[in-house]
Each structure stands twice: as C-alpha cells, then as structure tokens.
Symmetry: C2
Subunit: 289 residues, 2 copies
C-alpha cells in the first residue's frame, strides 16, 4: 500500500517516523478521514476546512501540503496507486507538530510538521445496518476539546474496545452529569417526542461532517430537528437512536446495553436519512463519470 | 545519542517507528521518566511500579523489556554509552500498543508493543529555584484518567506553551469547579493555614513519585500534611506554593498570574523539602560509589 510521508511517496511499510515525533511522544497532532467514491472526495471541502481548523487550533505551522490543491493531488494519486479509485474508500491524513527533542513547549520554529497520508479500502457494515447495531454506554472521560480532531484518542480506543468485547458496534459516551455526547468514532442522533435531536456542536463533541450533512438532509425532508443534548434518562424513551460518521454513514442502534431501542428494528427516520445520504454519495459518483 | 527500540540499540537519529504505530495514530501508550544520579536510578522501583501499572491499565501486553532487570540493563547501557552515567540525567521509556492497521479496537494478539528507551542530560533550574518560579493558571481540560502516565499530553503541551509565552516556568491547572489539580509536568503543593496540602492521588492527577517522596519527607520533618485539594479561591491566601516532579525536584512558586505568593520569596518549607530531597539523591550517589 502506498503512502505519502513528508514529501515522499513510498510503500507504507517503509514509511517511518522519528521516535522524537511529537505525534508519538505527546499525541501532538490532528488527523482527518475523508470518504472517497470513485476517487472523488465526498464533502471534501468541509473535511479540508476542519483539517485546517485543527492545524490552526493547535497552532501547528500550516505545512506546504496543507494547500487544498496539494492535498487533493496527494489523495488522488494514492487512491489511484492503491486501486482505491473505484467504489468506496477512505483517505487518512495526519499532521503532527514534527520531530524535535522532547520538551512540552513548542519546538524551534524551523521544525517541519509531519504530514502522513494514506488510503484504506472501505467496507460498509451493510449487514449490521440491516438488523440495527448493538451499542453500549461508557463514561465519557475525554478531554474538553473534543471539537478538535486530534490524535488524543486513547479514551475512544478503550471505549470502543469495551464495545467490541460486549459484541457491540459502538460505545455511546455519557458525561458525569448524565449528558449523552456521541460515539467513539461517530455522532449520535435520537428521535424523541417527535423530534430529531443531536448534541450541539460544542467542545464536548466532534463536529462531524456527516452530522452536518444529516442535519441538512433532515431539514430538507421537513423533519423537526433540534441541536440539544439528550440525557442518560432520555435513552430509554427514544423511538430511534442512530449514529453518523464518515465511515459509519447512518447506523441505526436497535439495542443499547442489552435493551431494545424503540421497536428493536431500524427506525423509519434513520432509514430515510441513510437512503438520502447514500443518494448524495451516488450523485458524486455520477458527476465523476 | 544512543537509543533502544524494539530489541535494538541504535543511534536515536536512526530510531524510526512505523506510521501505523498506535502511539502515533491514537496516543495509545504510556511513558515513564526516571532520574539518574551517577548512573543509578533514583526511586527506580517506584517508577518501575508505575510503568507496569500504566501498561496494565491500558491492557498492553507486557513486553519482554518490561522485566525490571531487562529495563535496568537497557537504561544502564544507554546512560553509559551516552555519557550520562556521571552526575544527573534522565531516562525516558515509552511503551505503545505497537503498529497495526488503523482501527480503534485493540490489534491482533500477536502485535508486539513498541518499546523505546533513551536518555537525556539533566540541567537543574537552579537559578529559577533561587528566585522562585513564576507560574500562570490554566483551565484543566485533560481527560479523567490523569492518574495513568499516558502520552495523551496535548493539553499539557498547550498549557505549558501558554506558560512559556507568559514568561512563566509552569502552568497550574484548575478544573471547571475551581479545584486546583497540578502542573503540566509537576504536582502542586500549598502551605495554607499551617498545613502542607496537595491534591489527593485520584484520577485527576498523576501520582508523582517525587510527590510521594516529599510526602514522606514532610512527615519525617514533622510537618502537618494533608492530601486535600485546594481551590482557586485558596490560591491568593497561600503562604507557599511549590511544584514537585522528577525533573522539577521542589520548585517554589513565588508569583502566580503576576501576583506574589506569600512574601514573594521562596518559602522556608519548600526550601527545607528541596534540601532534604537533594540529600536523598546525594546519598544515592554515595552508595553508588
């Protein structure tokens, strides 16, 4: 598999970074995951905007590769060379503050950021979606800047692992005060009292691109949507729960901590939104051809 | 500078890890910093214990090098080869969950953890200590498992950078509810109402080895010590504030957010504790000879 690292295209198995890389030593970096359809990036401009916002929020010097054209060219070449330019795939981009002798303070100004890009094949969890996914709840112990897409992902790793060990697709995170925030790699929506609700885009959640698209689609479909947090107490009374994300699309949750959600079947709103999202992606495919 | 990486001794500039390393991609690893005096590790057994606890807390398979004898042998050799076996130095150890295709869930069981060890020269901040350090306060936005010494250090990086830009030695972190926790790379002690206070060793702070040693020394010296959090409101009324840490030793804070602490001079208790700590380290040196 080909990758791009700091100006070079090379086999990923040869793509090596310094042990002094601040990504490795401090988790001092950001990342982005794009969805590609037939080599075209879905909502590429929004993902790019979030990537830049992350770089700027961490005050990492914008690297040469952070120009949108440059990044697109890298992504396109990797998708092609990796045979990921037909059908669905993902593009992973990570930018760290670079390699420097270990010290918490930012390194010397001439320290070049590390830029790593690769692509992955994408396999849709269609079978899970057809039945609806199982989820568990986990305490949300993450830091308070979840709105920045950093590689500070250990709490997500541990919660997702707990889900996997429980035979679940995802862990839904709940803050100490009972606020339900999101999944470990997905945003959460609930259908409750006739409304579609999702946590507002504060510091407690990642402002998902798919979340934003789904909010748009829901409005187009005439659904009542409110960006308001649901609480742990609300979970039992939801008609539907569903997850959204770049690799999750729309995923109905039909069982939570072993209890059925709503009817225990994928709900009509999740299904409708998934279909509309898929259409948007497919239209990208048509345009590309 | 020599380093140890996954079974090999090599020049640190040649020590490279995979872009798939989970330390780089998820911050999925722990670290430890030892203080060495004349090639001997100060409180080595406690640092080793904490390292093991971190590995176990993250459920990383204990690597071969995680045997205490093995790790000591690696540290000793690096200290010697790097010329850090006379006087003071530090040993840095990092263990991550290894390199594997990117997925939040733990990788296949045969994925070897990454083990990286190197040494650094140590320069005591004696001039700062003589005058007392300046500190600033910063919001504590870290995750809720600060008791594990992981590489989830981005919030620490950002707060320490804010301190440096304010001309301060350290940032003191305060939770939303006003609880004062610790520094970005140090524990915090206060002298207040005739008592020496420090935050209890909960999930909100790192259980510092120097913190534990200082608690012992304070008790030996007959000081009244209480492990209880101070609040933001207490900060103005403290007779002394001081930081402790493996590379910080005991550092009096004489100015906080631009306001004098106590008399604005290093206080008698911080000075007494620093001297006692130094004696302990010096006794290690005598034993080694």
């Amino acid at each position: 598999m080909q990758a791009y690292l700091n100006g070079q295209y090379l086999d990923k198995s040869s793509a090596m970074i310094s042990v002094d890389d601040r990504g490795f030593v401090f988790g001092d970096g950001i990342y982005e995951v794009y969805r590609a359809v037939d080599g075209e990036l879905f909502e590429g401009a929004r993902h790019y905007q979030r990537l830049l916002e992350g770089v700027d929020a961490l005050r990492i010097e914008r690297p040469r590769e952070a120009g949108e054209g440059q990044l697109l060219a890298i992504a396109s070449r990797l998708l092609r060379e990796n045979g990921h330019d037909t059908g669905h795939a993902t593009v992973y981009v990570e930018i760290t503050r670079g390699a420097a002798p270990r010290a918490h303070v930012f390194p010397a100004a001439d320290t070049a950021p590390t830029v790593f890009v690769t692509t992955y094949p994408f396999k849709d969890a269609a079978a899970v979606r057809a039945e609806g996914a199982r989820a568990i709840t986990q305490p949300d112990v993450r830091w308070l800047r979840c709105n920045i897409k950093t590689v500070q992902l250990l709490p997500n790793v541990l919660a997702k692992q707990a889900a996997a060990e429980a035979g679940a697709f995802e862990a839904i995170l709940i803050r100490d005060d009972g606020t339900v925030t999101e999944g470990t790699h997905s945003n959460l929506f609930a259908v409750l009292d006739g409304e579609v609700r999702t946590h507002p885009a504060t510091n407690l959640i990642l402002p998902g691109i798919t979340r934003a698209v789904i909010l748009e689609i829901a409005a187009e479909l005439g659904l009542t949507v409110r960006e308001v947090a649901i609480t742990e107490g609300d979970l039992g009374g939801c008609d539907e729960l569903f997850l959204t994300g770049t690799t999750t699309d729309v995923m109905p949750v039909t069982s939570l901590d072993g209890r059925l959600v709503g009817t225990g079947q994928p709900g009509p709103i999740a299904t409708q939104l998934y279909e509309a999202l898929s259409s948007r992606m497919e239209s990208l495919r048509t345009v590309a051809r």
